[in-house]
């Protein structure tokens, strides 16, 4: 692999202008737990990639959704693999974000001047959970339907505005085809864009402020 990049670099000079990115200094005495964030990001990339592929065959309509998923799993070549990768990466993504958060907390990497980065991280986590919630409905099977029914019913309990909120989230009084379509839109467009922006900020702050020395 290195030889391939050497070939490209000797012709296009890619390494030198990116030297500040490629040759970052990190403190000594770090352990592998400092890689957890990057692992979570890897899962995010896998989710984005497999999600793009799934969107080629998935149909977000009340009538077609379940059948399109069955088709992806059984008829599309390697469809079972792409769908499985997507599903498992989603779970692992959240697990590794939690592990990463624990590491940041235990190594006290949230103290000034890094408080803002912690907040950005928490915000990103919330958006990731929303992604998981919206994605869960898309197979439109019994599990998806009832999980969404229960989840959105919780929103109804918010004082004063609960009913309006749930009407807005569901696109109607109950979970129906409109819910599926707006959840799909949020899942593939609005939420990934938001996560990308937040992660860009997250990485940028780390780059600027450096990685804190291990305890």
């Amino acid at each position: 692999m290195g030889r391939f990049f050497d070939w490209i670099d000797s012709r296009f000079g890619v390494r030198k202008p990116h030297s500040r990115f490629l040759e970052r200094k990190i403190p000594e005495n770090l352990n592998y737990s400092y890689c957890l964030g990057g692992m979570a990001f890897t899962f995010f990339l896998i989710l984005a990639f497999t999600g793009l592929l799934l969107s080629i065959y998935y149909v977000p309509s009340e009538k077609e959704a379940y059948r399109s998923i069955v088709m992806i799993t059984n008829e599309v070549m390697l469809g079972w693999l792409i769908r499985s990768l997507h599903k498992w990466s989603a779970t692992l993504f959240i697990i590794f974000i939690m592990l990463h958060t624990i590491r940041v907390f235990l190594s006290k990497a949230y103290r000034p001047p890094k408080e803002l980065n912690w907040m950005v991280g928490v915000l990103a986590f919330v958006v990731v959970m929303a992604s998981g919630f919206t994605g869960y409905l898309l197979p439109w099977d019994q599990k998806a339907y009832w999980a969404t029914e229960v989840g959105t019913s919780m929103i109804q309990k918010v004082p004063f505005i609960g009913d309006y909120l749930v009407y807005a989230v569901r696109g109607g009084t109950e979970v129906n085809g409109a819910t599926l379509i707006r959840f799909y839109s949020f899942h593939i467009l609005y939420l990934p864009i938001t996560i990308s922006l937040l992660l860009w900020a997250h990485f940028h702050i780390v780059k600027r402020q450096g990685i804190s020395k291990g305890l």
Binding site: M1, G2, I46, F49, L53, I56, E75, V76, M77, L78, G79, L81, I82, L85, Q142, Y145
Partner: protein
Amino acid sequence: METVDCRLPTCLMERRVFLKRLINFFFSILVLIAGSALVYIYPSKTKERKLHYVYLIDEDELPKRGVRKVEFKYKTEDIVMINRAYLVISDNGINAFSPVCTHLGCFVNWDNNKMEFICPCHGGKYNQKGEVTAGPP
């Protein structure tokens, strides 16, 4: 590629060499996954679905008019399926209907008093022709 001192029973390797090899390995996995995307995108031929004929019931046992529920078994390539159907005998002859409600998939019941199919889950109603008359579907 750096050479590795492998004369010892446990092959000692510099950490840098090991990490480089590890990263190369993961990179090649990534290339495989990316390549699988091309296979995935290429449309696959759908398998031809064979038409199965299933024995339901003797014509003599059917009423001249009305609705009759039948249960039947049939075998596909891998599994034995047990299913039901509603047979509606009317001026149009004998029609077989799937018992599955088009709303969310519960089995509907035939109400002989009201002469309509009623879904117990959300109150969907169908007439004898299978058209929706009330409710969610």
